[in-house]
């Protein structure tokens, strides 16, 4: 405690004004008008991840060289890191704040690194423990169905997945060529889900072998049968011999069935399926030409895929639109019109407009139509409301039939793996709420990441553990004084002449060293990573270090509320609020 000194004069006084003891008695916290506090916020990557991955958290684990820890974090939200790390179109990276500084963190490659590391360790998800009595049926073993199965199993439900094909995986198995997604990666992640006690029954088709009425033993059903029917062009001759659907061709190749193709293949379409088909055709030793009615800028296929296709010798003819399929000298003859770009349409892309009398002819041995996929509605149970080519659901995934939920490509036009995984997770949470008689909609709103629609199940499973302010951290809220430009790392790709020899994976997993470097690039937006800037800068020594995780704490006895910690935090993990008067 303070002691007032009374000196008679200079001769009694020390040379300088210095206290003889410590100043702990002087609780300067009483001077504070504003209060700093540690508060994790939402990083833009997570908010943009349709699968709801806790990206910053798993990258932090990588940076700490705790790869198993990183795997555990990913598995909280997503059973398919090996798949997503390879084929997700990574919207997280387009929102990465680092993109405003130099280049986004290569998040997808880090996710893949973690998944492949875990597989080397032979990491498996353990059994979920004692099961509840309720049973849930899932129809369709694609990413939506299996994500739903995974999370329901973690919630201790007895889950059976029905799959019409002979192998599980849905579009992941049928639609994606193995040079992008090797089958063993998919098998590994599916078997991890099975290891939780999920039963998969293959060769059972909805509508034919199985009707909703047969599922009386199940207290809830999740329908995720996908969108497997190739959209037609609606032009004369498309039903003739020599014309194939892109998806059918990919299925055949993926199921290692024999495919008989001529040398010259025309592929119609500009999406990822068209690119997958063309690149697969090249790998079968044939020539592939893609015909697309708009220009490259409007192509819906991912840019990287287009680049790789061109590298591999795929030809793309832009601004041509087939109007008739005929025959000539044993070849298919495609009659096309040249197009030009007009005004923007509702998709925001410039509408292709035919140029009159610009007819041209393209000959090919086979023509493959890859103009998009749609849902097969014929086998769906009655009572499901459909609109504009999808099944309509409530926000929680529930349908008009009580206890029946739907998700994945069946219910959305955003047909990506990550969206499917996210919708499966949402359905799992909603089914759990439904079976427990809770308000599913309210619960889902409570567990949105940022403003949604991305969703986290972690907070649902472990309430109070990973609290984050839904505010999504902007670039302007970060302190760039503490970051230096660093080059974005990339997965290496095999040489083109090697690639086109077969269906071996094109890109390779990051090495440990590269992954560590890349993890260091993460700003860790809104998430304390114990960089200790606050500890170093606090002029009052009022940042306390603790042993546990999230070890820093403000010592409010002495913190004067100057706000330096708030300003100097590189990642916006400290908030400041006015002190209650």
């Amino acid at each position: 405690m303070s002691k007032q000194f009374q000196f008679k004069g200079a001769s009694e006084m020390p040379m300088i004004s210095v206290s003889l003891g410590d100043m702990d008695w002087n609780k300067t916290g009483t001077w504070r008008t504003q209060r700093p506090f540690y508060e994790d916020k939402t990083p833009p990557c997570s908010a943009a991840c349709p699968a709801g991955n806790d990206i910053v958290a798993f990258i932090q684990k990588i940076a700490q060289e705790d790869f198993e820890g990183a795997w555990n974090i990913i598995k909280e939200e997503n059973p398919f890191p090996g798949v997503c790390g390879r084929v997700c179109f990574h919207p997280c990276e387009s929102k990465c704040n680092r993109g405003s500084f130099d280049e986004p963190v290569v998040i997808h490659a880090l996710e893949r690194f973690v998944a492949d590391f875990a597989s080397r360790l032979n990491k498996k998800t353990g059994k979920a423990g004692e099961k509840r009595k309720e049973k849930v049926a899932i129809i369709g073993s694609g990413p939506a169905g299996m994500s739903c199965a995974f999370h329901l199993a973690r919630l201790h439900y007895d889950v059976t997945v029905f799959e019409s094909f002979s192998l599980a995986g849905g579009m992941l198995r049928m639609g994606i060529p193995s040079y992008r997604l090797p089958k063993n990666i998919l098998d590994r992640e599916l078997s991890n889900i099975e290891a939780l006690g999920v039963e998969i029954r293959t060769g059972v088709s909805l509508g034919e072998d199985l009707r909703l009425e047969d599922l009386k033993d199940y207290q809830a059903v999740f329908i995720s049968t996908g969108a497997h029917r190739s959209r037609g062009l609606h032009i004369p001759g498309e039903k003739e011999k020599g014309v194939l659907s892109g998806l059918d061709l990919l299925k055949k190749i993926n199921l290692s069935k024999r495919v008989k193709l001529g040398d010259k293949i025309g592929v119609i379409g500009g999406g990822n399926t068209a690119i997958d088909v063309a690149r697969s055709v090249i790998r079968l030793g044939k020539k592939a030409t893609i015909l697309y009615r708009r220009s490259r800028e409007e192509m819906p296929a991912f840019e990287d895929e287009i680049v790789e296709a061109l590298e591999e010798g795929v030809k793309i003819r832009y601004l041509v639109n087939p109007i008739r399929l005929g025959q000539k000298d044993g070849l298919k003859r495609l009659e096309c019109l040249r197009m030009e770009l007009g005004e923007k349409d509702e998709s925001g892309r410039r509408r292709p407009v035919p140029i009159p009398n610009s007819n041209l002819f393209i000959d090919a041995d086979h023509v493959i139509i890859a103009a998009g996929e749609e849902i097969e509605a014929s086998f769906l149970p009655e009572g499901l409301e459909k609109k504009e080519g999808i099944v309509l659901t409530q926000r929680d995934g529930s349908t008009g039939i009580k206890g029946v939920f739907a998700g994945g490509d069946l219910t959305s036009n955003q047909r990506t793996v990550a969206h499917a995984i996210g919708s499966g997770k949402k359905a799992a949470m909603a089914i759990d709420a439904f079976l427990k008689g809770k308000d599913a909609e309210g619960m889902i709103i409570q567990h949105l990441i940022g403003e949604g629609p991305s969703l986290s199940i972690f907070g649902y499973l472990r309430p109070g553990e990973r609290l984050r302010n839904p505010h999504v951290v902007t670039f302007e809220e970060l302190n760039m004084d503490y970051f230096e430009p660093a080059k974005r790392q990339q997965e290496s790709k095999s040489a083109v002449k090697e690639r086109i020899k077969g269906f071996k994976e094109v890109s390779s997993t990051l090495s440990e060293g590269v992954a560590l470097d890349e993890a260091e690039r993460c700003f860790s937006c809104g998430t304390c990573n114990e960089c200790e800037n606050c500890y170093v800068f606090c002029p009052d020594g009022s940042i306390l270090k603790r042993e546990e995780l999230f070890s820093h704490q403000v010592d409010y006895d002495y913190c004067k509320g100057c706000g330096i910690c708030f300003t100097e935090c590189p990642r916006g993990a400290i908030s400041l609020k006015e002190e209650a008067k």
Binding site: M13, P14, I16, S17, S19, L20
Partner: protein
């Protein structure tokens, strides 16, 4: 070992030989080469000293205040605007009784922009509680650094060692560089009175109420009053070890002279030649070199001017509204004395203009010829 080195290199040698622990500085012409020399040695690992990069002179001094409080020997160097920017921290260093040594290379303060020699920068810091020592040549620069640490650490006050821009800073002269062993035996390691100890935390420079503040200032004054004695002992000790000494002042020329010329810095060197020549011509004139400006060597000066009737002072500085600062200080120190020679206050050589032998002779002739000055300021070499 004798080396041909610039004044700034002499500073660097002095710092190296003094085993300085921490250097923090911000570059400014004409000081820059001091810091270059030191930072290169530190970067190459040959000098085991911490160099703290800073964004300003204010921060440089603030950093040294921290380091010196922590109990290590510190150094910085600056000039002109840099010194002005440090002003607040100069008070802090002396108020906290920190024996920091700083070199200031005298340079005019703008505007108009000017990088040449002028004492206005260091003299405008005369009231900050720092000891100020002015040097005449590169040997004196090196020797003064070594003495400065010993004086500073004995009286617990910071010392500013001052040298002229370019005339010394960038001009090479033969300098005897003592060996590390010789300096080690002269300058012991620094032992702080109130070292920082994490086991026994203290608050430094804590708020002090009016009932005690004045006494701390009194203690600083008392320390200043010890300086003449302490620095004489240090100088004597230095002379006995190295064969060179400087004193607070030095009188040269004719012994019974009635006219004395008082100078500081490199003007003294030029004055020595002029006075030797005038003495040979039969003129009764002598020179007075002022090395120590703070604390002002009143006693020493009074003892050295006995019998003189007139004192000419050449000031390479101007306190506008009064005149030359050395002349002003001299007048103030003579006022309570019985013998009060006339003070002729010449102002010359501002902004680096050469103070030539002709100008010095003109000042002496004026003083000889006039019974009293025609004003407080006598402009020397001014183009009217």
């Amino acid at each position: 070992m004798k080396r041909v080195i610039t004044g700034n290199q002499a500073v660097a040698y002095g710092v190296i030989l003094s085993r300085v622990d921490v250097v923090s500085a911000y570059p400014i012409t004409p000081q820059t080469t001091i810091v270059e020399e030191l930072s290169e040695l530190i970067a190459s690992g040959r000098l085991k000293t911490r160099f703290l990069k800073v964004e300003s002179e204010h921060s440089a001094m603030a950093a040294l205040i921290g380091a010196s409080t922590g109990g290590v020997r510190c150094f910085t160097a600056t000039s002109s605007h840099g010194l002005a920017y440090m002003h607040e921290m100069l008070h802090w260093a002396s108020g906290a009784r920190l024996p920091i040594v700083m070199v200031n290379v005298n340079r005019a303060i703008g505007p108009p922009w000017n990088i040449w020699s002028d004492q206005s920068d260091s003299l405008s810091q005369r009231d900050t509680g720092w000891i100020q020592l002015y040097c005449e040549n590169n040997q004196e620069v090196l020797d003064t650094i070594l003495q400065a640490y010993l004086i500073a650490e004995k009286v617990k006050l910071p010392v500013m060692v001052v040298l002229d821009a370019f005339v010394l800073s960038h001009t090479s002269e033969p300098v005897e560089v003592p060996s590390m062993e010789e300096v080690d035996s002269f300058l012991p390691p620094f032992c702080p009175d109130y070292p920082i100890d994490t086991q026994e935390p203290r608050a430094y420079s804590v708020i002090t109420m009016p009932e005690h503040f004045m006494e701390f200032r009194y203690k600083i004054q008392k320390a200043m009053e010890e300086v003449p004695d302490v620095s004489k002992k240090v100088d004597d000790e230095f002379r006995s070890r190295f064969g060179r000494g400087y004193g607070a002042i030095e009188r040269y020329g004719k012994e019974e002279a009635e006219v004395l010329l008082m100078t500081s810095g490199t003007v003294t060197s030029t004055s020595r030649t002029v006075i030797r020549k005038l003495n040979e011509d039969g003129l009764s004139v002598a020179g007075l070199k002022i090395k120590r400006f703070r604390p002002f060597p009143s006693e020493e000066i009074y003892g050295a001017i006995k019998g003189a009737k007139k004192l000419a002072v050449i000031d390479r500085n101007l306190s506008a509204g009064v005149g030359g600062i050395f002349a002003q200080e001299l007048r103030a120190s003579l006022y309570p004395r019985e013998e009060r020679p006339q003070v002729f206050g010449f102002v010359s050589g501002l902004g680096g203009r050469d103070i030539t032998p002709e100008l010095i002779e003109e000042a002496i002739q004026y003083t000889v010829e006039h019974p009293q000055p025609e004003g407080d300021i006598l402009w020397l070499g001014l183009k009217k």
